[in-house]
């Protein structure tokens, strides 16, 4: 493995971070905030470590898969480290571990926070916090490579490493086109949502921050009470619509805009996913209404938002779900585990895998009944090859195992079982809020430091879809 090539690419990612850090610094100067020095110094460090390798290491036309994986995994980790610098340098509620947690949570679009008083944070730091989600939403490596000039072969390797097979499945385009589509949909949705939120009554700063967090399915808000603080039905509806769009494969959204055949309306995955969301919100609203938790229209309003928010892994909230009936909480936990569809900005398990998993189970049952039968597994009319089927089965099992293992570790640290389980599921799924002490309007500040660190590993595992990180532990077997 050529370490210098890995360093060069990670440096390029840091340059991209430096850009957003500098914008945040300009905001702090404009608003005369106390974050000027922390943001300036963070920009400088990102810039130094980004530029220095470019002086020495020349452009390469090819990178190996191992180099690609190393760039992606270490790129994410180092980005998160640099991302935590403004928090560490500024202080306040940010101890080193809290800053790391907030940074990882931002870049992985998890949206879990340790900040108790978000509104007390300087606006420039809030902007940086939202920017981390926006950069992380599309995949920080991909984003940097998309914009910075590199050879197409290298771009392709990184694209294949950063995006899973499932995510690429709906892109019937060449790599160059995929970059264009991602940029078009990502920027387009962000601009459109910012405009609509602004028209609905949000000020521009809140609108841009919330659209960053929505499109990236992140969930960082600029308010302590998240979306609840606006108490504005139009804002809620706009955010719900964009959360759904952000939870759907970008290629399908692009095709729908262009009126192509393979679009949202023809995709079995999207249709089933939306049906699941609808059934979920129906059950939750019914339970909330029957148990007299809310009148019917409020039950629908709150359940729709919470189900969509967790079902798309965004994590915004319009009410506290901490005191909701257990039945509704279990449904919400299901959505926390299921996550949104592949090819979207969401992390975690992905609905596509859930669908393949259940279809594979059905196939196995049929095979028990008819051992000689040749049954192919189809999703959206496409046959799923056995490799992908096996990969999905292993992934789902590993995913569930990690949730239980993290729950075990957290309960060892005296975290109550409900909080431990829901926070494990919420962090590996990059959802954000869990239940118990870390419910929708609560935060993760009360967890022990080691617990917070474990959860950040979960977030990275969820974002990098587990295998990327795991394969690095077996680096010797690559040789």
């Amino acid at each position: 493995m050529r370490v210098e090539i890995v360093i060069r690419y990670i440096g390029m990612v840091l340059l991209f971070n430096a850009l957003f850090l500098f914008i945040s610094f300009l905001i702090s100067i404009f608003l005369s905030e106390t974050t000027d020095i922390p943001l300036l110094y963070s920009t400088l460090i990102a810039l130094v470590f980004g530029l220095f390798p470019l002086i020495y290491v020349q452009r390469t036309h090819y990178i190996t898969i191992l180099e690609g994986i190393t760039i992606v995994v270490f790129g994410w980790i180092i980005t998160c480290l640099i991302g935590s610098l403004p928090y560490i340098l500024w202080g306040g509620e940010f101890s080193v571990i809290n800053a790391w947690f907030e940074s990882v949570s931002g870049f992985t679009t998890t949206g879990s926070s340790i900040v108790n008083d978000i509104e007390a944070l300087p606006k420039s730091l809030l902007f940086w916090r939202s920017s981390t989600q926006w950069m992380g939403g599309i995949g920080i490596i991909l984003f940097a490579i998309l914009i910075l000039p590199e050879s197409n072969t290298s771009k392709l390797i990184l694209l294949n490493t950063e995006m899973s097979k499932l995510a690429k499945s709906n892109f019937k385009y060449r790599a160059k086109e995929i970059f264009r589509i991602l940029l078009f949909v990502y920027f387009g949705l962000t601009i459109l949502e910012t405009t609509l939120l602004n028209l609905a009554g949000m000020n521009f700063f809140d609108a841009i921050n919330h659209s960053f967090a929505t499109i990236a399915t992140g969930g960082f808000s600029t308010k302590n009470l998240s979306i609840a603080s606006f108490n504005n039905i139009s804002v809620e509806v706009i955010i719900m619509i964009f959360m759904v769009f952000s939870g759907i494969h970008f290629g399908l959204t692009f095709n729908t805009i262009l009126g192509k055949k393979s679009n949202i309306f023809n995709s079995t995955i999207v249709k089933t996913y939306l049906l699941f969301l609808f059934i979920g919100l129906l059950f939750v609203s019914l339970k909330l209404y029957v148990t007299d938790t809310y009148p019917w229209w409020q039950a629908v309003r709150y359940s729709a938002f919470q189900v969509i928010s967790l079902g798309t892994t965004t994590g915004f909230a319009t009410t506290s779900t901490a005191n909701w009936p257990a039945f509704t909480q279990i449904i919400l936990i299901y959505f926390t585990i299921q996550c949104a569809t592949a090819g979207s900005t969401s992390g975690g398990l992905k609905f596509d895998r859930v669908l393949i998993f259940f279809k594979a189970l059905a196939k196995q049952i049929k095979l028990i009944q008819h051992p000689r039968a040749i049954i192919s597994l189809k999703v959206s009319g496409k046959t799923i090859d056995e490799n992908l089927e096996n990969h999905t089965m292993v992934f789902v099992i590993l995913y569930i195992f990690i949730i239980f293992f993290t729950t075990l570790l957290l309960s060892f640290l005296d975290v109550d079982i409900f909080t431990a389980f829901s926070s494990s599921a919420a962090t590996i799924g990059n959802v954000g809020p869990g239940f118990g002490d870390v419910s929708s309007l609560g935060n993760y500040s009360g967890l022990p430091n080691l617990g917070k660190f474990i959860l950040t590993i979960n977030m990275l595992l969820g974002r990098l879809e587990i295998f990327g990180i795991i394969s690095l532990f077996f680096i010797k077997s690559w040789k």
Partner: protein, 251 residues
């Protein structure tokens, strides 16, 4: 890029990183020292003055009680010295207005103290007020308590501000120390990176050049050090490659 530029760039970046971190720390420490000054000059001075005003008021109260008991000389002596002590402390507070609305607090103290003074300034000994404890409680004590509460309010205002500034100082101390810590860690990582690049792009190619030259010298092997960089080392490799045929021809 030239070797000189590459090496210089490393040092310049390292120095820039350390210089800016140092400047930031110095800047934050200067801000802290300014805050300490504010703390001492503005708030602490007024708090001390308020304490002295309180003490003067207590002494005046004792003097009044002595007057009530018919001890004119001792009573008036205590009252007059306490009165001058009160005014000296009051003038410190009056000339040290640093907080929002602090002037209003000062004005309230002044008014309530003058009301209080009006009560004990006229003769007490030898009048019907002597030994009249009801007069003391009804006419005087409430004024005494009012001045005390006004002085207390001024003290609380300055104490709150002092607390806020102390908290801010804590934050600034953090901001002064952290760039230093971050700079040390970053510089160490940067140095590792720098050494790695120096080794990778200068030391190793030089070793390859030397080995290739040795090989050529001993075994007359073909010369190829495989230098990929576009700097003086590549030039050197090219020059050696140009020289080799000439050397062979000379032999």
């Amino acid at each position: 890029m030239k070797i000189r530029f590459k090496i210089l760039a490393g040092f310049v970046l390292l120095i820039t990183m350390l210089f800016i971190a140092g400047s930031m720390s110095i800047y934050e420490f200067l801000r802290i020292s300014k805050l300490v000054n504010t703390l001492i000059e503005d708030n602490y001075k007024t708090i001390e003055a308020s304490k002295r005003m309180m003490e003067a008021l207590e002494r005046e109260d004792s003097g009044i009680l002595l007057l009530l008991m018919g001890k004119w000389k001792e009573g008036r002596q205590i009252i007059h010295s306490a009165d001058s002590m009160f005014y000296s402390a009051f003038s410190i507070a009056q000339n040290n207005i640093t907080e929002i609305n602090e002037d209003r607090y000062i004005e309230k103290i002044k008014t309530s103290y003058l009301d209080f003074k009006k009560k004990w300034e006229p003769p007490i000994v030898g009048t019907n007020k002597e030994r009249d404890i009801n007069w003391y409680f009804i006419e005087l004590h409430s004024n005494f308590l009012l001045v005390k509460s006004e002085v207390n309010a001024l003290m609380a205002l300055n104490q709150d501000s002092m607390y806020e500034e102390a908290s801010e100082m804590k934050e600034q101390a953090h901001r002064a120390i952290m760039p230093g810590i971050v700079a040390i860690i970053s510089s160490l990582i940067f140095l590792v990176l720098f050494i790695f690049f120096l080794n990778k792009y200068f030391v190793s190619p030089m070793e390859r050049l030397i080995n290739e030259l040795k090989n050529f010298n001993i075994h007359s092997n073909s010369f190829n050090a495989d230098i990929t960089t576009k700097d003086e080392l590549k030039e050197l490799e090219n020059e050696i490659q140009n020289l080799i045929p000439k050397l062979k021809a000379h032999k």
